[in-house]
Structure formats: C-alpha cells, structure tokens
C-alpha cells in the first residue's frame, strides 16, 4: 500500500485541526457589521503586485475599500526598495486617513513607517510586524512554518539532505517560517541543510530557482537530496519544474502561499510538490481594510495582530483549498 494512502486519514484530521487552529484568532466575519469608510481616503501601499499573493491581497483591499464607500489611493513599488521608500515618504504629504503597507524588508521600511506614524496617520500592515503598526493582518506564520517543516520531516522519514532557499530573511514572514524550519530540524539530527543555502531572487524567481536546482541536481546524484524548502512557493515552483525536467521524482518540494500553478502541480501523478501552505490573501486584504474601518469608527481595541487561517495542502486535501478560499 502506498504510504501516502495509509497516512491519508490521519493527515485529513491534522489539516482540519490546523485549519481550526489557524482560524481561531481571526473570527470569520461576513463584513456586514463593518463601519462605513465613506469620505475616507485609504492608501494601499504595495511592495509589489507581481505574485499571486500580492495581486490577490491588493485587489481585495481596493475592492473592500470601495465596497465600504472609501477611496483607495493605490501605490505599487514594483518590488523596488527605492520606489517603496519614496512612496512611503510621499504618502505623508498625501495625508490619507490611513495607510496599509503590504510586505517589505522590515529594516528598510521601518524608519519610514515610523515617520507615517509620527505624522499622525493611522498605520496598518499586512505581513509586516512593525512596532509602528496599529494592527498587522497576517497568517500565523509560526504555526504554518512549523506544520510545513514537520510535514517535510515526516515525508523524508527524518533522514537526508535538504536544499533551502533563504534569500529573503529580511522579510519578517519569511524569517519566521525559516526559524520554524530550523527548530524542527534541530530535533531531527538526521536531516541536514546543504551549505551554502540558496538565494531566491526577485524578479525572475521561477527561472532562477529552476536553473539553480537544475545545476545542483547534476552535482548531487539520486539519493543525496531528500527535499527542497523555500519560504514561499514561487522558488518552489521553479525547483519543482527542475525536478520534473530531470525526472528526479524522489525529491519533494515545500513552500508557502498556495499559488495556483503550484496547486496545479500537486494534481500530477508524480508531483514533486510535497506540501504547500495555502494562505488566503484575499481574506487577509479584506480583513486589514475592515480593521481600518473599525479603527476609524472609534474602535480602539484592535489586537496587535489578526491571524487569518492557512491550510497545509498536500495532494490528499487539495479540494479543501477551494473551500477555504471560497474564491476559485
């Protein structure tokens, strides 16, 4: 019997559990009781809008601001730090009623987030745990990172070498996921991260990861690599493609986001994708805007973080992603 089939039932329980666990801090709300944003200008400051997560989170924020009667000010730095800092500076001049910053390298943007906060503009964030943010809407990356790493350990039987993409440790959510991986590995001495760690890049993430892995597959023959881990799933996509190209079906990949192309790969009979944590970028975007609306309506008891549920997705529970996101 296929070991995966044997594990199916307990896995379903596990994923259902993680679903419930993730959902607990962010009570689902239908948005019916959210205060209006009529007459309010909300700046939606994006680090970039080139990936599935960004695009969905961005569009959801804009749509929700409009639905609540507000005016979105849309800012997109195109994954360029200089543009991002410039737009965060200029947004102070624009004096919006609130700013929502999505993603970014914390050390680069934090001084400028401080300026926004100091100018008296309510600052909200998505995936940026800044001390100047009134509320950060995000997935529970600790739980997601741990679940992903434990799944990797389980699939490999706790033995073998792992290739790790760690190019964006400065992005807090990536750092949390990486640290969780290291914690899980610390308890399993049979699993080793091959050095040097790999650097994923932006742009050309998929092609670059594919080329890096293709080269390394030549260096490490069958049996020398057990798994490939990335803090997000765009390098995972490139790595998976390289594995398919090389016919190395013994290696599995692990990542976070749940980009449609990666979920599509999961459907393949000999899928290289071991697991991917599916996030809900649309719900994250909507939730951030609703928190802004509540704050501007005088509700000052917002938590420092609002967590949105994730789903550790494998080929066994692929159908649950659609149900979770409710958008596909």
């Amino acid at each position: 019997m296929n070991p995966l089939t044997r594990l199916r039932a307990p896995l379903r329980l596990l994923t259902l559990f993680s679903l419930l666990l993730g959902a607990a801090p962010a009570p689902a709300d239908d948005g019916a009781q959210v205060p209006s944003l009529a007459g309010k200008r909300i700046a939606v400051s994006m680090t970039g809008t080139s990936h599935y997560f960004d695009i969905k989170a961005f569009q959801a924020q804009v749509d929700e601001i409009k639905r609540l009667g507000g005016t979105p000010i849309t800012l997109d730095a195109g994954r360029n730090d200089r543009n991002l800092v410039t737009q965060l500076q200029t947004v102070v001049t624009q004096k919006p009623d609130a700013v929502i910053q999505t993603l970014g390298t914390l050390s680069v943007i934090d001084p400028w987030l401080r300026r926004i906060s100091a100018a008296g503009i309510p600052l909200f964030t998505i995936d940026v745990p800044s001390q100047y943010s009134l509320n950060n809407t995000t997935s529970d990356n600790h739980a997601a990172g741990r679940a992903l790493a434990e799944r990797l350990a389980q699939d490999t039987g706790g033995q073998g070498n792992i290739l790790v993409f760690n190019g964006f440790y400065g992005v807090p959510v990536c750092a949390i996921r990486y640290d969780e991986l290291q914690k899980v590995l610390a308890a399993r001495p049979g699993l080793k991260v091959l050095q040097p760690e790999l650097r994923d890049v932006i742009p050309n993430t998929v092609q670059d990861a594919r080329a890096q892995i293709a080269a390394l597959l030549n260096k490490y023959p069958k049996g020398e690599i057990a798994a490939i881990w990335a803090a997000w799933d765009i390098p995972q996509l490139g790595a998976s493609q390289a594995l398919i190209d090389a016919g190395r079906s013994e290696i599995r990949t692990y990542g976070v986001d749940g980009t449609p192309e990666v979920l599509e790969l999961l459907k393949r009979a000999d899928s290289p994708v071991g697991a991917v944590v599916a996030q809900q970028p649309e719900l994250i975007g909507r939730t951030a805007v609703r928190n802004v609306a509540r704050y501007l309506a005088g509700q000052r008891d917002l938590p420092k973080e609002t967590h949105v549920a994730t789903l550790l997705t494998t080929r066994d529970n692929l159908d649950q992603v659609n149900r979770l996101r409710g958008d596909q």
């Binding site: 360029n80 800092v85 410039t86 624009q94 050390s107 001084p111 400065g170 650097r199 890049v201």
Partner: protein, 326 residues
C-alpha cells in the same frame, strides 16, 4: 539646389524649441502639478523631492562627468555603466565595516576608497588599454556586482550609524540632509567643471580630442580623471543609499537605466545640447517631481517610465535634427 528659407528654418526652429522649450516644459509640468496635485507646493514636499533625488542625481553627476570628458556619442563616447553597481558595492562595504565595528573614519574612508578603486579600474581599462567605454564599463559593472554578491550573499545588510541617521533624518533650515548633499555635490561639480581650467579642458577633450591634443592638453589624463570622479560619485551616492535603506540592499543595478536616462535627458537643459552638471541636476529633479506629482495625483508611477522614454526619444530626435544644421 539651395534649400528654401522655410526648409532651412525648420531644424533651427526645432533646436530653438529644444533649447528654450526644455525649461518651459519643466515649468509647465510643475504648473500642472501645482494646480492639480494637492500639497505639491508644500515646502516639505518640495524638500522631500530634493532628498529623494539625491541617489540618482549623484550617480548621474558621475556619469555626466564621464560623458563630458569622453564625448556624448553613446556608442563611442564617454560612458560609465558601472556607476550603479559601484553604489551597490560601496554601500555593502560601508554596511559590512559598520557592522563589524570599524570606526566612522575607517568606514567612510574605505567606502570612498572602494568607489575610487572602481573609477581607477575603469580609467585604466579605458585609457590604458583603449577599450571602448561601453564594453569596458560593462565588464567592470559585472565584476563589481559580483564582488557585491560575494560580500552580501545577495541579502540585505541592515546597518545603523550616526552618519546614516543624520543623512536620513537630519534637517537643516527645514531642508533634509540628503537634499543638502545633492545640492552640495552639484555645486562642487559645477564649480569644478564649469568654472575651472580643468573643466574647460575636459569639455575640449570630450568634444574635439584631436584639437585638444594639438593644443597640448593631456587628453588621456583628463579622461582618466573623469572616471575617478565618477567612481567617487558612486561611493558618495552609496552613503545616501545606505541612509535611505538603513543599510545595504540588493538590486542597485536596477538604477542604471534611470541614471543613463537622466544624464542624457540633462542635455536638453543646456543651450548647446551638451552634457552639464546643471542640466543633469534639472533632469534629476524633473524625474523626481514627475514621480512625486503622479503619486499625489493618484496616477501609477509606471507612467513616469513611459514619459521618461518619450522625453528621451525627443532628445535623441531633436539632437539628431540639430546635428544636420548647416
């Protein structure tokens, strides 16, 4: 057959339009933003744009100096494609030294030395080995970018020092420190290139190298000096960049095309369509004001790239016209 007076007047009209029109167009753009974009004319906003322009501006000054000394032909004239990579390496050197606990003096000194070393390398290759600047600096760009990757492993190196703090958040007379740095570097280079015998000779070397040589000017030494100045500009901009990003960050190479665009755009602000530091400063500010104004008008900043492209096409077309002038 002699051209009719109308035909002869056409290119002159174009040149005239270009010479006087550039400033008028700049003023018109400012006017549109002043009328349409809320808070555009607020002193704080104008000062912000000056500060935001510092990094690109100082890099473009370096490139302009090289173009002055090597001539403005894009293929065979003076060109330094390594300026942005130089900034990346210099900022990485500064952040690394700062984090390793080296004092301010050593950190600043070695960062400036890094920039100068890149300039020295370019000078040696272009002047010493007589390689075309386009290829020579393309090669050094890759070399320098590779060194940066070795140093940073392609990650962000956060760094904090009193110098960076002052550059990023210091204000004097209501104007941010970075704006003063931009204006200061511009003033120094305008003095050097427009007001000294060295500058005059540099122009002569760039425009008529044979005549300059015949007149006894050390052509190669001047070209060499222009690359050293460009290298120094790379490391000066690195301090601004390190302040802006609280350390060294990846992707500085992406600035190169903007820098080249600004340096060539700068020629439209000079009466004789030649590269000048003043013109480059105006071009930097024009781009800075466009990005700022577009954001205030809630228009995607990606339009700025398109508009910049149109402006450069205009420069190329009109300078082509002016060359055909009798």
């Amino acid at each position: 057959m002699n051209p009719s007076p109308v035909e002869a007047a056409r290119p002159r009209l174009g040149t005239l339009l270009l010479r006087r029109g550039a400033l008028l167009a700049f003023a018109a753009i400012l006017l549109v933003f002043a009328l349409g974009a809320p808070n555009f004319l607020a002193p704080g906003n104008l000062a912000n744009v000056l500060a935001q322009s510092a990094i690109l501006g100082i890099l473009a000054f370096g490139l302009t100096t090289v173009i002055v000394g090597g001539g403005s032909n894009v293929l065979s004239g003076g060109l330094d494609l390594s300026v942005a990579a130089n900034l990346g390496l210099s900022a990485a050197v500064y952040a690394t030294l700062d984090n390793a606990g080296y004092g301010a003096f050593a950190g600043i000194g070695l960062t400036l030395a890094t920039g100068l070393a890149v300039g020295l390398l370019n000078g040696l290759v272009v002047v010493g080995f007589r390689l075309p600047p386009l290829l020579a600096t393309l090669a050094s760009m890759n070399l320098v970018a590779g060194l940066e990757l070795v140093l940073t492993e392609n990650t962000v190196l956060p760094s904090a020092s009193p110098l960076l703090e002052w550059l990023a958040f210091g204000v004097w007379l209501g104007v941010p420190a970075l704006a003063w740095v931009l204006l200061g570097v511009a003033a120094l280079l305008i003095l050097l290139i427009d007001c000294t015998p060295f500058g005059l000779r540099l122009y002569a070397v760039g425009e008529y190298p044979e005549a300059a040589h015949a007149a006894g000017i050390a052509v190669r030494r001047h070209v060499f000096a222009s690359y050293l100045i460009s290298g120094l500009c790379g490391s000066l901009a690195a301090f601004c960049s390190a302040a802006w990003f609280s350390g060294s960050t990846t992707g500085s190479g992406e600035m190169l095309l903007s820098v080249v665009a600004i340096a060539f755009l700068g020629t439209i602000f000079s009466r004789r369509l030649r590269p000048s530091i003043g013109g480059t400063l105006l071009a930097t500010l024009l781009v800075g004001f466009m990005i700022n104004g577009f954001q205030l008008l809630n228009i995607s900043s990606f339009w700025v790239n398109g508009l910049q492209g149109v402006l450069i096409l205009l420069v190329v077309a009109l300078s082509g016209l002016s060359r055909k002038e009798p």
